[in-house]
Symmetry: C2
Subunit: 510 residues, 2 copies
Amino acid sequence: MDTGTSTLSDAVDLAHHVNTKSRSRHPSPLKDIVSYMGYEGMISLAGGLPHPSLFPLNKTTFECLDPSADKADGVILRLGRGSDPADLDLTQFLQYGSGAGNKGLIALCRELTTVVHTPPYNFECLLHPGNTNAWDKVVGLLCEDDDYVLVEEYTYPSAQALWIPLGIKAAPIAADGEGIQPSSLREILQNWDEKIRGARRPRTLYIVPVGSNPTGTSISFDRRKEIYSICVEYGKTILSDHWSHTHNEAVDIIIVEDDPYYFLQYPGYKQTGSKSKISTKDFLSDLSPSFLSMDTQGRVIRLESFSKTLFPGLRLGYFVANPIFTERLLRATETETQDPAGLSQAFVLSLLSSWGIDGYLLWLQHLQEQYRLRRDWLLDAFHQHFVVNHTGPEETACVSHPEMNSHIPVFSYVDPGAGMFVWAKFHFRGVKRFAEIASDGNDPDPEQSFADEMWRAMIDELVLLTPGSYYHPWQGADNKTTKARGAEAQTAHFRFSFATPTSTSTDLGS
Amino acid sequence: MDTGTSTLSDAVDLAHHVNTKSRSRHPSPLKDIVSYMGYEGMISLAGGLPHPSLFPLNKTTFECLDPSADKADGVILRLGRGSDPADLDLTQFLQYGSGAGNKGLIALCRELTTVVHTPPYNFECLLHPGNTNAWDKVVGLLCEDDDYVLVEEYTYPSAQALWIPLGIKAAPIAADGEGIQPSSLREILQNWDEKIRGARRPRTLYIVPVGSNPTGTSISFDRRKEIYSICVEYGKTILSDHWSHTHNEAVDIIIVEDDPYYFLQYPGYKQTGSKSKISTKDFLSDLSPSFLSMDTQGRVIRLESFSKTLFPGLRLGYFVANPIFTERLLRATETETQDPAGLSQAFVLSLLSSWGIDGYLLWLQHLQEQYRLRRDWLLDAFHQHFVVNHTGPEETACVSHPEMNSHIPVFSYVDPGAGMFVWAKFHFRGVKRFAEIASDGNDPDPEQSFADEMWRAMIDELVLLTPGSYYHPWQGADNKTTKARGAEAQTAHFRFSFATPTSTSTDLGS
């Protein structure tokens, strides 16, 4: 955790969100003795640390791009031991850490958070080994077994795979091209019936608010304000006297903001202006404000990751959260993972120190531009091979039907203003094979059966999409069909990723 | 997991040990599509991976010691991207991995395991991000909430801190200078009363078998054989028909072998022979055989770590286990952590490839010698400042009492034949201040109260030891006193670490 001081107001006391298991964690007694080790003249026979003179690595060099990505060896980072001339001392990254992560790196994460989000309260940062593990720790912090978690209508399957064994289920919130609908969130909370659901009302909202995986949509600023205010509103009775609450009482909502695509926000398709670099200030002001930026109370746990902005193999990111939560997350870190890997910490600290915050933001502009280009390649291909009709926020890709003198809709999508994905709803009305399956009457989910056939047929044509079924919220084994989920009849979704293909490979017709 | 083939016999089916939560894990659906990505000519719009051309790291160099530790820049490892001439292609380590870890590194771990332990069945290896996390995953695999776990009489506190929030308690096994006593293990299993304990009989044995933390002792070969056979014996009824068992039935025991100090096995104090390097074969044959080496059934889960042999900041190690367990551990890896950090994997693979297995074993000889030296420095200091009497396997450090013409015992210890620690039992009989505390009658644990005072007094003299109380097995909040634990009256333990101090700083008298 950082020890930064600030003139901001402190977070609201949200200790009632810490679950039973997390409350019962104690700091490791071994940590007590660490403070004594620093005494001048102390002969420490206490630590169980291996001796640093016996680590076989002496020096490391990283050759990196410069922030504008112009020169492949633009930045050379040198890390050495002891007397070696180096940009950064390597030894501290080879030894066991404190659990909280390197202080210099945390300070840098804190600075970056302030520059980008300016959270309006006294937050803390804590390193973690990637957002997969960060979400594991947040579930371990907030959720009881058999809880429900509020999620988007379609949501990231690995986030769910983690908690399915705990008996946790999803309470999906309806969404459209502007992200989840506040009215749907309010309805779920207002009408929650513990008897019918067999579980207390959910108090955790898990969300990928920018370039959502899989839908590619981002939550608009107005909706964010409304969602935040609903999350606060539901805690009014609690916050005045939080120790008296029971599981049956109304309780406020914690927002878990998993936001790896935050810097990959794009202008609309064909709305691209100048491709020249803009100032840091302009770059930042073009980005949609995060939930963290409006978090006056400390009820947002933001999961930051370097996987998309530097590279995934780092397994490095950080929490930004209320100190009540970071303290408990640190306890979990001590027993579950310890510090993120030292070479990853060393690389990120030395790279960001060398680039500077401004350099890093310049690099992010470059990334944004590169992924924007890839988004455009994919949508270009859609326009090249289909007749694309505008129908409200949605676009519908159609094929001409010369005999009927009309367009037959194939799939609809929303121009993804962020992230790496286009979420396409395929229309099955009038498709002969689908009608066959549906008319049989024995198939409990004809939409899914036809989607499965279609997926395999596309593979035979050497085009691989991700089936939309992977992203259905887990509402228990009995609620999996298109009908049971309340999804639109005669449709099914597929996810296109535009992160990996080149402009040539997305030329689908060739 | 590795895909190595072997002529060894397969493991016994021990699926009945997989707990309820771990059983309910499913493979990520996203993994299904990975197999299709490799099809020739496939246009993949499926993966959500960031594009490797947008990773800002191009080249890495590691300057390492040679295996004999003679030259600081003896080995230079070069990792580059694509066309760069390099020892190893860096890109694969920057991208997301499969969860199982790099195949080349797993093959190397498998080879090392075969050379060192020759497990007598068809085992698998799976990478993990350090033994802290490995133990977290094993608890998540084997233990139900409120279980008991069999542990040594004194045991590593962080291993326990992990499971205390789950309501798990320790069932301590009595130990002496040769490690845990098979008779004590048998007695606990035979006399387990579910009604009194409020929990099913334990079926997991957690053990640091070599240079135990904190006791420094290692389990002798004969005891290992007997312990392994008890663990098998208790499953006889089960193995013939394992699906019919209930929680009330007898069940066999899984041995979790957490063995970071395995290569730090020393000759007895003052029994050191030649310090010249010996052959790999002789080095290995001098090491005590592991539980894994006698595991004909696949009931040992071995936690291997590079933290003590290379450096802790790597956060990298591997499981060696029955494929039934590694498959479930891989499922947990996918949702809880993903692959260990890429730079750590890249470093270890390229270093061990460069050194070779023989080179690595030569390096381990060097380490062994260095820590043996440090053990000797500490015991030299004991002999220099106390009269050390031999009393069976124990040594007792005494001060002379000229008036009484006798020796007063201060503390007893066992020469640690391995690891980094000396476990010292301090004697309080006849100590005035202790008598004062004890005679008062109001102190529920006078031994601990005096030990606390003594610890602080030593700190005032600038000597820091680790209090033995940190290593007491957690048997619940009501069983913490010296008396309740059944520990020897008028004594308390402290742990000396000899890993960090130099020969000068351990000269305690100066």
